[in-house]
Symmetry: C2
Subunit: 379 residues, 2 copies
């Protein structure tokens, strides 16, 4: 019998929440006479009705309009991030990120040859006092300022923290006074388990912010639909590098057709599922306090950040876990400086309750074993 | 009543050939239990069954295997072209293209800040003797060699010419002896009205060639599915810059599910439709020899290249045609050096027989009027 696989690695939604039946029906409606549209190239900014749904979500979360003309669809939010890099960065530039940030973004920034200034993260996200110091320090030394501040303020990846509005205001005011744009990666905007998220940067000042969103977290990354929004000039500057003939219209048509009637029901349904899984994860983590020293308390999103004992060897944990088919995100993958930090990231959207109940105690054993080896090695 | 629109501009397939009903059925089959796959990220090289179909097409056209592992899906072939540029080009580099080439590629090359060495095109595509001279000349002057040779050898865009195998062999041997890779844009590989296309460069020497293909011409550009193939090292070098989390799996699953049973029937059907339209276009062009001085004789593809009288003002033709809702490709858009050449490109896949019968005589009138004005201006 094949060994079970415990996939706590990738930021995938719950497989059972994928609306297969409803999407098949939406597709059938869309494809009636679709030849006229699907044999032509997409609108350079992408299918307008899906951009309208992006605007509708933004308005519900932030209370203000996001003009449909300010939005452009992309192949997942990751394409938006890489296009922003193409438009803004040269090798040798620096940017600001959270000290721990999304591994995909970090890898992208590395490819563009930039230095990441990693600002410490606490329970309320990026520490803006530390950011202030870092910017002051650069100015004092006459060094070039960072080209943008990349932040995941809502349901931060990997730490699962939420930046309160007071910090957002201070971050924005710093960005404004130094003239540095904010790249706000708001991929997890819809995954909220209680309170609404604090107002986003873009709602506070559309001129200073490139807003990045995704449909991957409520639909599925296989649909590859994300977007970004910015003032006209910046939007054009980023779209200039979108040399792909447009974002998939088939997926956009079908997704828009489904979400126009189901957006909020669907969001409510998945949030219930994902919150339930988070509860199971937290229960399991708290039951093994010697292996899992502590963890963040996500108010949404898909990720929880887990502190390992100081004397553990994270490389050994990964080896042991891999042998047991347990997948998770290493601390190192999310460290902006590539250090082997003593954390790991668990994704709680995809795996089942049973996977967590079985797999997390096994993972705790891996941590204990990696600790014992470290201790032995010291003798 | 709204004025009719004559769209002879974009490289779109026939709207009636879009398999709406069959795709809806394929989607329903794919989506049964698709949650498991569509809530995860795509394979970095893209959905394997669609890559298998790309390989099957290649084998039928060229008689040799294209390993599925050497193929990576992209958002249309245009993303493949732009990724190749990211991987290979720096501002100030030069590349070789046909003198007249695809406007989308030309615009892309311009964005990367490279100089295009445009080699003259005759009835058999790129003139390889002229290419030989150009390369010799660079070598003689000690100038850096071009980073790649970009060619559309089969159903060239915009000229609608076909490069015979003897020229392909000579082009390849030049590329080999100078150590310059060939980027073979083979988007129109399936649109053949008679003979099979001559063997492609990749079949002659996979090590020297990046092969680029598309599903846009047999399905529809709205599906945004293209691909490229190369030896392992080159594939990795290009994929390195594909920072988009993967190519749309929903579209890839559905397209593969449809094409696995219908590929060759579908290709036969669309070739019949498109060839019929080409015949109508040729008839109309030949009926107005004072306005349309000559044209290419496409053996496939979607485009025909039309010679305008020497004394015509192409800018004025465009103004007059735009007033009458006639769209076409200007010669200038396809000229690698951006010159206002006295040609225009007609696309014959999308518009209807009636559009051609009504619109091409109107376009001939525009040419005559632009000629008269030029003559008057001379008085």
């Amino acid at each position: 019998m094949a060994m079970p696989v415990y996939n706590f690695g990738a930021g995938n939604p719950d497989p059972g929440s994928f609306p297969s039946q409803a999407l098949a029906e939406a597709t059938a409606r869309v494809l009636e006479g679709a030849g006229e549209t699907l044999v032509t190239y997409p609108d350079p900014k992408g299918h307008p009705p899906l951009r309208e749904i992006a605007a509708e979500r933004f308005k519900k979360n932030n209370g203000i309009d996001l003009p449909v003309d300010s939005i452009a669809l992309t192949t997942g939010s990751m394409q938006a991030i890489s296009l922003v890099c193409q438009a803004f960065l040269h090798p040798g530039d620096s940017i600001v990120t959270e000290e721990f940030s999304y591994s995909g973004s970090i890898n992208c920034f590395r490819k563009f040859g930039v230095r990441m200034i990693g600002i410490p993260v606490d329970d309320e996200g990026m520490n803006v006092d530390a950011l202030e110091e870092a910017l002051k320090d650069l100015a004092r030394r006459g060094e070039p300022l960072p080209k943008f501040i990349y932040t995941i303020a809502t349901n931060q990846n990997p730490t699962g923290t939420m930046m309160p509005v007071s910090r957002r205001e201070k971050l924005l005011s710093l960005a404004q006074s130094y003239g540095i744009p904010i790249v706000d990666d708001d991929c997890y905007a819809d995954l909220l388990f209680g309170e609404p998220a604090p107002t986003s940067f873009y709602a506070l000042d559309p001129d200073s912010v490139i807003y990045i969103g995704s449909f991957s977290k409520i639909m599925g990354p296989g649909m590859r639909l994300g977007f970004f929004a910015a003032k006209e000039e910046t939007l054009a500057q980023v779209l200039y590098w979108k040399i792909d003939g447009g974002t998939n219209n088939f997926a956009a048509y079908v997704t828009a057709e489904y979400l126009k009637d189901h957006l909020w029901d669907h969001v409510r349904e998945i949030n219930g599922i994902v919150k339930g899984k988070l509860d199971t994860v937290v229960q399991q983590l708290d039951a093994q306090p010697d292996a899992f020293l502590g963890h963040s308390n996500p108010k949404g999103g898909l990720f929880i950040w887990v502190k390992l004992p100081e004397d553990v060897d994270p490389v050994r944990v990964l080896e042991l876990a891999t042998e047991r088919n347990i997948r998770y995100g290493t601390g190192k993958a999310f460290d902006s400086q590539g250090r082997d930090v003593k954390y790991l990231r668990l994704a709680f959207g995809y795996a089942s309750h049973r996977d967590f109940e079985e797999g997390l105690p096994l993972l705790a054993d891996c941590v204990r074993e990696a600790r014992a080896i470290t201790l032995e090695a010291r003798v």
